[in-house]
Point group: C2
Chain length 368, copies 2
């Protein structure tokens, strides 16, 4: 391993958490940080997340063996252009952390000198409702997909070297072509954000003539519109950097709405039933059933009776374990008992908890 | 109060929970139950949810002062036709529990004799992932909206008498015209079910050519598609009984998708930002922020630090309290601390818990 100096631009949740993950595996590496605003830069310094921090992006770039751009998509592209003008270390590895990959990779291939720098696209697929360096969390990427998208500036050594650097994240590394990445995320993330916000817009307008709309919305509507509260700037930028894929999904979706409308118009009971049933069956197959939440954690499930203090009883057994969350599951299941879902930060805590609960209770305990 | 015999058709979750709520306030009333299948009928009898049970709907109808039809919409309409042919008690009150109101009320007004029976539409707006008499819960409707939709067969005394009968539910009674009820629920419930299932269908088809779709879906997608796992038969029946309103919302939604597509096509960054921002602001205004889940409970919020055993510490304070659920909130908020949401079955438990946590910790505790 040759990397000694890592430069992370952006001390937000992602950049600062990447720094912690790198340090966990490589405590001897020097980590330099850039952040435009004072607050997260100060926190990153005070907490030792980085060794040194700057508000001048250019300042540390020439010192780095690896540069990670953990800033918004547009700024990532701007920084790529800036880096192209600097005198960087020979064979420096540059990567990013953006939610779309094609536009960023196109910029890298266009502006960066292939004979001098290596570049691979990155998308660590984790997030949190918390933001900023103050929310930095060494566990953020554990068990999460961490996508590498190769480019013409990716050499044979690039991804292996980055994987070694990022080993401490304990993420699930996977290589995905940039185009495929952007298509898949348009389906499962970018276009659904439009759906959620459009539904919210529609309900808001409807409430003007039908005031009870503001009051009768319950669990289903709440869950469907949760992501409509995401940060508008980030999603505007994601949409604009993946517009073709998103527009294709949007058109496809309108066709599906037309098809359902036709079934309803024809009062085709059987076909409507199959439409709902197919969605139900498909969802049960998907990996989402195994994931804890926005973040990726290790989940334990316990079938518990509807009795007083049952959650307390379990948590007492787990005292001192680093559990992240506890919840009686509200998914639509046919079970009579509630399913208590407990999320842990590490697999060893998970297995330890499973043993404890099995030994001290009669409840059925399982991992998925 | 004159009601002495209440006949509930349908010993599912709703019918059986209504029986428990009626008994809580009126332990001296006789409650008779109908259920086609043996299992829920037996459970309702064994647990004393009803005094007597039958598999022959007609059998108990002539004995009743109040008849509550807690069966699927189509069956509700069929039973209204059956009741029209029976020799019922003078001035019997008939009501239902269906998710749409117009079709049921039209049937009641068409078939039932206005000079002999009273009819008002009902929609108790609560549910659970649990089903059947075995899941019956006297707390199911607490704090939930319970809608009465008046008809030509509703007399001045009808709703007051029903409110007295149902006082034990501790629901929020509200009168809403059937047409308005069906419009509002098309927006916040019926049409969103189409969106969720269509998104699931779309992702399922996309996964055939893009296998990673099955794996990369995370929290946002999971929440948006949760209701796609609902029981297909129930939603088919709801859609078909409210098709005009649902189709109107569907067409309106397609226009909104067109508008967003145009903004993306024009790369109108500012307008897209405003689209997302408006959704975010609107959602924060809605009552959903105060509701716990599919069910309606009393919620307490505690700002807690990300420390070991913090949930355990709080639950120990609350030992013996009838809490329903506990969860660190994953909503997109800007807070640094986590928000621990604790749901209680009663307001008194909620207030007691608030006092306990305020006295024994430094954490900020609040109700909404």
């Amino acid at each position: 391993m040759e990397e000694k100096v890592v430069y992370i631009a952006g001390m937000g949740l992602i950049g600062a958490s990447l720094a912690l993950g790198i340090r966990r595996q490589h405590p001897d590496y020097k980590i330099l940080g850039y952040n435009r605003s004072d607050q997260s830069r100060q926190i990153a310094l005070e907490r030792g997340i980085v060794d040194e921090a700057t508000a001048d992006f250019k300042a540390f770039a020439p010192l780095a063996d690896v540069i990670i751009l953990a800033v918004p998509i547009k700024q990532t592209i701007d920084f790529i252009k800036v880096l192209a003008q600097l005198d960087l270390k020979e064979n420096v590895i540059i990567t990013d952390a953006g939610s779309t990959k094609l536009k960023i990779i196109q910029a890298a291939e266009k502006y960066l000198p292939a004979d001098k720098v290596q570049f691979v696209g990155s998308h660590p697929m984790a997030g949190s409702h918390k933001t900023g360096a103050i929310a930095a969390n060494v566990h953020l990427f554990e068990n999460a997909y961490y996508i590498f998208s190769p480019t013409r500036l990716t050499r044979e050594e690039t991804i292996p070297r980055l994987k070694d650097l990022l080993l401490g994240l304990k993420a699930r590394f996977i290589e995905v072509e940039a185009a495929e990445h952007d298509l898949v995320t348009s389906q499962i993330s970018h276009f659904p954000h439009i759906l959620a916000s459009a539904l919210m817009e529609q309900a808001g307008d409807y409430a003007n003539g039908h005031e009870l709309t503001n009051h009768f919305a319950a669990g289903g509507f709440r869950d469907m519109t949760r992501i409509a509260e995401s940060e508008p700037g980030m999603w505007t930028s994601i949409l604009l950097s993946n517009s073709d894929a998103v527009l294709e999904r949007l058109t496809d979706f309108k066709n599906r709405l037309d098809a359902v409308a036709e079934l309803i118009g024809q009062k085709d009971e059987e076909a409507i039933w199959h439409f709902f049933d197919a969605g139900r069956r498909k969802r049960k197959e998907m990996e989402i059933h195994k994931r804890a939440g926005v973040d990726s954690f290790y989940d334990l499930f316990v079938d518990v009776p509807d009795e007083e203090d049952v959650i307390l009883q379990i948590l007492e057994l787990l005292r001192g374990t680093s559990l992240v969350n506890v919840h009686i599951n509200e998914e639509n299941r046919d079970d009579i008992n509630g399913i208590l879902q407990i999320s842990f930060k590490s697999e060893s805590d998970l297995l330890h908890a499973q043993t404890l609960i099995s030994q001290h209770t009669d409840y059925h305990v399982y991992l998925d």
